[in-house]
């Protein structure tokens, strides 16, 4: 407990701003409870990141690092190299290094039982970050911190309905097979467009969240399916930017012939919005460190931690992209 005092003071300040902005979970924190002496025995947090092959993940990791530095918390980052096996090994190795908390950004939804059990047996609370895993929050793991993927997809779908007048032939570029966000982004999108008979997903393909794959898959779709579509819905910005290059190469003008929308809100995506190529991007912020450490502090103080800590999404389109480009990752 004692080791948390100094970081807690900083947190209090940070959180006061945060809770005002998001207003959802962390408003019960009472600084008066925190009356133990200040001593900076560093808390150690292990972070198993699935990979660093896109700017979102780089930004997420860097955000955690920056915030941990500010709080005097020692953060150990392990790169899962896009392999669940490697991530499980990393979690086990973090347990071996006797960290106090483990933050896991899981590559896929299923198959974490061994890692979760190992954490529970070692008494190390685990927080899943930005994607969910199969299991019961509060039992199998402490909490989930991230965006509401379903909500993001719904926001994207709503923007499309509004900008296409409820009539569209949609190409869907999905992320990685088996990832929880992919399922959610499918579900939210479909649930929303279901009510509109003329909103139709004509092709749905995986492009692994990568720019080049987005481009390749788009090229293949144009070759095999043809040009009879007017919307591209990508599960992330990178795939959308890749797809845009493919459209341009095929002489299909993005923004005019085809409306492209994606999720994440990266700097490149905002640039593309400003360039008039990407229609809109729904923010799924990688800046989750504040919420992660706030949850850890609450747990350290013995307070209940909510089972889900959701960061709200925003939508950037041509109207507000320039305004937000500097804060984008």
């Amino acid at each position: 407990m004692k080791k948390l005092i100094y970081p807690l003071f900083i947190l209090i300040i940070l959180l006061s701003a945060c809770t005002q902005k998001n207003g959802n979970v962390l408003n019960n924190y009472d600084p008066a409870l925190d009356n133990s002496q200040s001593e900076s025995d560093n808390l150690v947090v292990g972070f198993s990141q699935m990979n660093h092959i896109n700017p979102w993940r780089v930004a997420e990791t860097n955000d955690l690092k920056r915030k941990a530095d500010d709080l005097g918390i020692k953060l150990i980052v392990l790169d899962g190299e896009s392999s669940q096996e490697k991530q499980i090994t990393d979690v086990i190795s973090l347990i071996g290094r006797k960290v106090d908390y483990i933050v896991l950004a899981p590559l896929i939804y299923e198959g974490w039982d061994n890692a979760l059990n190992a954490c529970r047996e070692a008494g190390i609370p685990l927080i899943t970050l930005d994607r969910e895993v199969a299991g019961i929050p509060g039992v199998d793991f402490l909490t989930f911190v991230g965006g509401d993927f379903v909500k993001e997809a719904k926001t994207a779908a709503e923007w499309l309905i509004e900008n296409t007048g409820g009539s569209a032939k949609i190409i869907e570029l999905r992320g990685r097979e088996g990832a929880s966000c992919v399922l959610d982004r499918e579900r939210g999108f479909r649930e929303t467009i279901e009510k509109y008979n003329n909103m139709e997903i004509v092709v749905s393909a995986y492009a692994d969240f990568e720019r080049i794959k987005g481009q390749r898959v788009m090229e293949e779709i144009i070759l095999s399916y043809g040009r009879n579509f007017n919307v591209v819905y990508a599960h992330n910005d990178e795939m959308a930017i890749g797809a845009i290059q493919a459209l341009k190469a095929a002489n299909i003008q993005p923004g005019e012939d085809v409306l492209v929308i994606s999720i994440d809100g990266s700097k490149d995506a905002l640039k593309s919005v400003i360039a008039g190529e990407l229609g809109a991007t729904v923010e799924c912020t990688p800046y989750l460190a504040e919420q992660v450490f706030a949850a850890i502090m609450r747990n350290e103080l013995g307070k209940t931690v909510p089972h889900k800590i959701i960061v709200k999404e925003r939508l950037f389109d041509v109207n507000n992209a320039t305004e937000h480009i500097d804060e984008a990752f």
């Binding site: 700017p55 780089v58 860097n62 990568e210 720019r211 990178e238 700097k267 640039k271 360039a275 990752f329």
Partner: protein
């Protein structure tokens, strides 16, 4: 030799008493030491060969890894040049920064895409970044760009003021994009306008140090490590070893990377060398053990085969030493030991025979001596002598009686001579004189005697009682056979080694045939034809001094008889 010296000096710390032990130790020492010397030499040579092999392997590995690094750096260089020369990029950089942000971003995204395709074919490059002097900037990877006035940064100036490509040592994170802070090395190149020669900007190429690490970490496995050293201050860029602790190296090799001037050093850890040498040592050690064991068994069996008959022989000799000659050595081999055993057997047999002979001869001698004595003091002689004494006593010749009794006493005393076999010639002559006194008294005026013995031989030794029987013989068979007064002459000659006694009588002599017969009888030891005294004299002389010596008769009718006695001068 050493062992025996030690043994004799008695100072050696250990004594190996038996020949077996000595041979065994010697053989063991010689074989083991030669095997050891061979082993050590082999070990040493093999060690050198291993070292040389490791050295050449090391230099090959270093060369191969340097080649791979060259390839990687070459990829960075070639692709940088290709991007710098790209007409589309040159065109975009040649223009002013577009006023319309949409156009800026559109161009950026398009060229980013073009760069990402280049990068897609060179996996090992982390990223290419074009930084235009006009403010445009492009990137090949997903990383989110940072927007700054890069023209004011040191690295930018360093690149544009350098005539050569600039290689930046490992630094954390990329210069112009957001990364997670991994160590990178960066190649910086100027982009020169192909039409005007102006500087349009720079191109940066990032390579993750991890990529280099992956290349060199495969190099030597656990047996050594590779280390990439920068050009300034021996700064280590990366190394393949597991731990950061400084490891001493047994061998090293280095090569310079052409592109950067960096040095790739390879080290073989001492443990590797030791392990290789030890792995060589094991079979040698086992070999030495095997040879030692074979040697041990061979030496043992050789020693037991060679030495045990010698031991048996020694045991038998001890038995012989204690006086038992009835031993025989089993001969099992035909080698020197067998010959020795054979000689031993022959020798023991001979000794045995000799001992028997000696014993028998001794016995015979004793018996003859006894017989001589018996002959001398036979009742007949005593009776005659005592009768002469009685007769003289009756005649009142007291002096003669005394002389006779005195001579008889002396005769018996010398004859017994306290049991000795040898007496001086002086004593023997004394004995004869006493005898002659008795006989002259008895055979009054019938003969006279002359004794002439050289003084020089008086102290020489002779068998006792050899002259008396001969003189007796001369008296009874020579003098008594004639009527005149006879003469008995006793004389002696001598040479350096021989003494010849001569007893000559002036009797009638005997025929040559008789002489031959008599001499023949003398040599036939067992014959009884000759008088006991005479025969036993010859017999005793031959037994005692050998067959060369003895008694010989010489005579002719009318010339008397001469008996010569040949004995050695002792």
């Amino acid at each position: 030799m050493k062992l025996s010296n030690r043994r004799h000096s008695g100072k050696g710390r250990f004594h190996i008493k038996s020949i077996g032990g000595q041979i065994f130790t010697l053989v063991m020492v010689i074989t083991i030491s030669s095997v050891l010397i061979l082993g050590i030499t082999y070990f040493y040579l093999a060690g050198n060969i291993i070292k040389e092999n490791l050295e050449s392997v090391l230099s090959e590995v270093v060369k191969a890894n340097a080649g791979e690094l060259d390839n990687l750096l070459g990829l960075a260089m070639q692709n940088s040049l290709r991007i710098a020369d790209d007409p589309k990029i040159q065109a975009v950089l040649r223009n002013d920064y577009p006023e319309d942000l949409a156009e800026v971003y559109s161009q950026e995204l398009e060229i980013d895409n073009q760069l990402s395709f280049i990068q897609n074919y060179v996996d090992d490059i982390f990223g290419f970044y074009v930084i235009g002097a006009n403010g445009m900037q492009f990137k090949s990877n997903f990383s989110s760009p940072i927007y700054e006035n890069w023209q004011n940064f040191t690295w930018y100036r360093r690149i544009i003021y350098s005539s050569n490509p600039v290689w930046f040592s490992p630094h954390e994170g990329s210069f112009t994009v957001n990364t997670i802070g991994q160590p990178l090395i960066t190649l910086g190149l100027k982009i020169i306008d192909k039409s005007s020669g102006d500087i349009l900007g720079v191109i940066l190429t990032d390579i993750e140090v991890e990529t280099i690490h992956e290349i060199i970490s495969q190099g030597l496995g656990g047996s050594g490590h590779l280390s990439l050293i920068g050009t300034t201050g021996n700064q280590e860029i990366t190394h393949s070893r597991d731990t950061d602790t400084l490891i001493q190296s047994a061998l090293s090799a280095s090569i310079t990377i052409d592109y950067t001037g960096w040095t790739l050093k390879g080290f073989i850890h001492p443990e590797t060398l030791e392990a290789s040498v030890t792995s060589m040592f094991k079979p040698i050690f086992i070999l030495i053990l095997i040879i030692a064991a074979i040697d041990f068994i061979a030496a043992l069996s050789f020693v037991s085969r060679t030495i045990s008959p010698l031991r048996d022989l020694a045991g038998l000799m001890k038995i012989v030493q204690s006086g038992n000659f009835n031993v025989n050595m089993d001969i099992q081999t035909e080698d020197e030991i067998g010959m020795l055993s054979n000689s031993f057997n022959v020798m023991v047999a001979k000794i045995n025979t000799l001992m028997k002979d000696l014993y028998e001869e001794h016995e015979k001698l004793r018996i003859s001596e006894m017989k001589t004595l018996e002959a001398q003091i036979n009742p007949h002689f005593l009776y005659n002598t005592l009768e002469s004494i009685i007769w003289l006593a009756r005649a009142g010749q007291n002096d003669a009686v005394i002389r006779l009794v005195f001579s008889l006493t002396n005769l018996l005393r010398i004859g017994l001579s306290r049991g000795r076999t040898l007496v001086t010639i002086e004593e023997e002559i004394e004995h004869i004189k006493n005898y002659l006194v008795i006989q002259e008294t008895r055979f009054e005026d019938e003969f006279e005697s002359v004794i002439s013995i050289p003084e020089t031989i008086m102290k020489n030794k002779t068998l006792k009682l050899i002259l008396q029987p001969l003189v007796e013989n001369s008296i009874y068979h020579g003098i008594m056979q004639q009527d005149d007064t006879g003469t008995i002459k006793i004389s002696a000659d001598c040479s350096e080694n021989d003494i010849f006694f001569r007893i000559e009588d002036s009797g009638p002599g005997i025929s040559t045939a008789e002489v031959e017969k008599l001499n023949g009888y003398l040599s036939e030891m067992e014959e009884e034809n000759v008088g006991i005294g005479l025969r036993s004299v010859n017999q005793r002389i031959k037994l005692y001094f050998g067959p060369d010596y003895g008694v010989k008769f010489k005579s002719a009718p009318g010339e008397g008889t001469r008996v010569s006695v040949h004995i050695p001068r002792i």
